[in-house]
């Protein structure tokens, strides 16, 4: 089988993985090496369905010994099987990179025998790529649950980002649909990755302090990491539910949200580029990704939505815990596409819950960039996100008594709650009002989305003339506008789902 045929099979087999970002790490070019990495990432193409192509996203092999019910590559599936040789895949990555097709490699795999055997093969490919082909670009690698700690550590030193797929939103669903996986097998490598990153961060901070006093000897990073990994890590019996709070060390190593807010208000709005991480209100590390050697771009995960009965509140709570406990960079949601006949799953032909996936991403964004809590977005009493109205607008409509907000004196955390005002817009308003009164025309020039924002703001005590004064009329107008969008009309037709408003 030539590489063209294999690539067709193994790219097709990998396409259900939602993550395809090359973000989260800055790495300068190095003499004798090919490539570099930029924190913002770069999309080199877009698929017909509009998803970004930034990495060569393939499986090492789709010959899988596991039998997950929803997976097209499961053991019992009747599909053509293929496996890359490590060198073949390394060659392919460099060939694509040189032509500016990709930013790097996204390497996942079916379980080729055992998790360790599969990971060893992936490591061999990455070693070739890094050492022999001198590739300095981005690498995202999947960790297969059940992989030994040593191999997770080894692959973490070759990849920029690791991800362990959560697969499904609860342990019960996981055990029902993935007989070969368990929650502990997933949370264990997540915890290991987090622990090692925290240890490296501590080490780098100490080194920063010591710098200038003495030269380092040997390879202390390795020593620090080895000592940071407990010989007998605490077993997590109810893995997905047993996330402990952050330790004091972890907390103290990060900026507090008060500091974040101060920094946010002082951020330079004249800059033409908005750096996402600098806009987030989440606590973040003070150690630059470029200094790290172990998983410098952090870890992410993915879970399927719509295949099992968990509601949105449950999913957002879970995401929030993952962000807090394991400092995940992203939680990706993948709308379930019925491809398999199985009584435990939605039947083939059922609509793909695209809007639900979309609203979950919006809600996730609100948690990371706007400091919303999960219960504010999908409450325990109303645990499903509205499909017609975006979660921020839905929150504002539920709390319309808190509006309108005055642009001249509202603090950043209040401005961030206004529909149509984003992290950049809020900072622009704060800067502009220092120079004088801000009008609705000024807001339009500052690219605030007035279609939504005008109903929730006053400028110098005055409402926008185009906005109704009555709260009920505002509600009716914004909901009607949202429902009439081409996206909502198309999806409502396909999905036939009801709105809460």
């Amino acid at each position: 089988m030539d590489t063209l045929t294999k690539l067709g099979i193994l790219a097709d087999a990998a396409k259900y993985d939602a993550a395809c970002t090359s973000s989260g790490v800055d790495r300068a070019p190095q003499a004798g090496k090919v490539g570099f990495a930029q924190g913002g990432g770069l999309c080199h193409s877009f698929t017909p369905d509009g998803r970004c192509v930034t990495l060569l996203k393939v499986l090492m092999s789709n010959a899988c010994s596991y039998d997950c019910a929803y997976c097209v590559n499961r053991r019992q599936a009747s599909v053509p099987r293929a496996t890359f040789t490590p060198r073949e895949l390394a060659e392919l990555t460099v060939d694509f990179y040189r032509r500016n097709y990709i930013e790097g490699l996204f390497l996942s795999s079916g379980v080729l025998g055992t998790p360790d055997a599969t990971t060893e093969r992936m490591i061999e490919c990455l070693r070739l790529l890094r050492d022999e082909y001198r590739f300095n670009g981005y690498v995202h690698a999947k960790v297969i649950p059940g992989t030994s700690d040593e191999l997770v550590d080894a692959i973490g030193r070759l990849a920029d980002r690791l991800s362990v797929n959560l697969e499904l939103p609860s342990s019960a669903s996981l055990s029902q649909l993935c007989p070969d996986k368990d929650a502990h097998g997933i949370s264990h490598p997540m915890a290991q990755i987090h622990r090692t990153r925290v240890a490296e961060e501590q080490f780098l901070k100490e080194r920063r302090k010591r710098k200038g006093r003495s030269k380092l000897e040997g390879s202390p990073i390795t020593n620090a990491l080895v000592t940071a990994t407990p010989a007998n890590p605490q077993p997590q019996t109810e893995a997905l539910g047993a996330f402990a709070p952050l330790t004091q060390v972890e907390r103290s190593s990060r900026l507090t949200s008060a500091q974040q807010l101060r920094q946010a208000e002082e951020s330079d709005v004249m800059s033409l580029r908005a750096v996402g991480m600098q806009m987030t209100l989440r606590a973040r590390s003070t150690v630059a990704s470029s200094k790290r050697r172990f998983v410098p771009a952090g870890q992410s995960t993915q879970l399927i939505v719509g295949a099992t009965p968990e509601d949105d509140n449950h999913i957002l709570q879970l995401s929030n815990v993952l962000y807090q406990r394991f400092d995940l960079k992203r939680v990706f949601f993948s709308a379930y596409m019925p491809m398999v006949d199985d009584a435990r799953l939605p039947e083939q032909g059922a609509p793909v819950p695209l809007r639900r996936e979309h609203r979950l991403y919006q809600a996730d964004w609100l948690m990371r960039y706007y400091a919303f809590s999960p219960d504010e977005l999908a409450t325990p009493e109303e645990p499903w996100l509205d499909l017609d109205v975006d979660p921020k607008l839905a929150w504002a409509l539920r709390h319309i008594e808190r509006f309108p907000v005055e642009v001249m004196d509202a603090p950043i955390e209040v401005l961030l709650r206004v529909p149509g005002v984003g992290p950049v817009g809020a900072r622009r308003i704060i800067t502009a009002r220092k120079a004088g009164p801000v009008t609705f025309d000024d807001l339009a020039r500052m690219r605030i989305t007035l279609k939504r924002a005008r109903h929730f703001l006053t400028c110098g005590g005055k409402r926008d003339p185009k906005s109704p004064l009555d709260a009920q009329l505002i509600r009716e107008k914004v909901v009607s506008d949202a429902k009439q969008s081409a996206y909502n009309r198309t999806r409502r037709h396909a999905e036939g789902q009801l709105s809460l408003f």
């Binding site: 030539d2 490539g35 017909p48 509009g50 033409l272 580029r273 695209l354 120079a435 000024d442």
Partner: protein, 336 residues
């Protein structure tokens, strides 16, 4: 960038900056307004702005126009400025640029020792660099008025983000920055028989000078050339041989050189197969049930404007048919 420079700068009678200043002063003294004809480049615009400033011209009585699209209005005299290849204009442009950095940064809460801080990269002045690469005919005048305002407002400038002049330059700069991003995203290199890489890209702004450093950093030791035939600019990179430590150089091309560079290339024998691999990958990663008909709008065209599609290997239907030979390294390796 090698100066030499805007295509419009050739075949003109040389003009000195001092001569332009004197003619500007004379026209103003005679009660005329002045249209300063300049090259639509950063050096051309800032140099012309400096000439107007040195002529003590009130901002309302001077406007900058691209030399190739210069038409006097009623009561206005056209004054030609030196080419942006002229050393004295470049020196003057540099004075103006440094002046903005210094003037705006003085009192800026982020300034260090009175200078524009590196952590915002001199954003107030930096946007001029991007905006000047715009193809918009109003670019020279927009930058001229921005510079005048920056000198008038000083450090307050960074707060005037809703001001119309600032917004206008901001829009130009953002558009160019977007085109730079598109250049980085959608330029496609081909491996030539001599081992070098070549790309042609047609952005709607002069992005090659702004992105050459990015490609040089990305490509490491590779030898490459990227050409923009619309703006007739090209970047060449040959690590250790060109442009000193940077390894790259950017040049302006005349029509003949541009045509020569774009002429059919002798591709590496592997190239058709690698292109086919990329197209196969692209064709394989599409998910069903999520296309434009399922969304109500075309998300792909939003992210990847159609004007670039003609240059994208993955959308070129000829690619599959051209991959007749399998390179040895991609031939059957027994694992299947």
């Amino acid at each position: 960038m090698q100066r030499g420079s805007s295509p419009s700068s050739s075949r003109r009678r040389p003009v000195s900056a001092e001569g332009a200043r004197l003619r500007c002063e004379a026209a103003l003294a005679d009660g005329y307004s002045v249209a300063l004809a300049c090259d639509p480049s950063l050096e051309g615009v800032l140099g012309a702005t400096g000439i107007g400033y040195l002529a003590h011209a009130d901002a309302g009585r001077v406007r900058l126009v691209p030399r190739d699209a210069c038409q006097a209005r009623f009561g206005e005299q056209v004054v030609d400025t030196p080419s942006d290849a002229s050393d004295e204009l470049v020196m003057l442009a540099r004075r103006v640029y440094k002046g903005i950095e210094r003037h705006v940064a003085t009192g800026c809460p982020r300034a260090r020792n009175g200078a524009c801080p590196t952590n915002c990269a001199g954003a107030c002045a930096r946007r001029l660099v991007y905006a000047s690469a715009s193809d918009a005919p109003g670019m020279p005048e927009a930058l001229h008025r921005y510079v005048r305002k920056a000198f008038a407002e000083g450090p307050r400038m960074r707060m005037l983000i809703a001001d119309e002049l600032v917004v206008e330059v901001d829009e130009l700069a953002r558009y160019v920055l977007n085109e730079c991003e598109h250049t980085k995203q959608f330029a496609r290199f081909s491996l030539l028989a001599d081992g070098s890489l070549f790309a042609a890209f047609r952005p709607q702004a002069d992005t090659i000078p702004l992105t050459a450093g990015y490609f040089a950093a990305r490509m490491g030791g590779e030898r490459f050339c990227i050409v923009d035939p619309v703006h007739r600019s090209a970047a060449f990179h040959d690590s250790g041989k060109l442009g000193g430590r940077k390894g790259h150089t950017v040049v302006r091309l005349d029509r003949e050189s541009a045509d020569q560079l774009l002429a059919a290339k002798d591709l590496s024998p592997d190239e058709p197969y690698v292109r086919a691999l990329w197209k196969r990958f692209y064709d394989s990663v599409t998910l069903p049930g999520r296309d434009a008909s399922q969304r109500g709008y075309d998300l792909r065209a939003g992210w990847m404007p159609r004007r670039f599609w003609g240059g994208l290997t993955e959308l070129d239907q000829r690619v599959d048919a051209e991959a007749s030979t399998i390179p040895e390294r991609y031939a059957d390796k027994t694992l299947n």
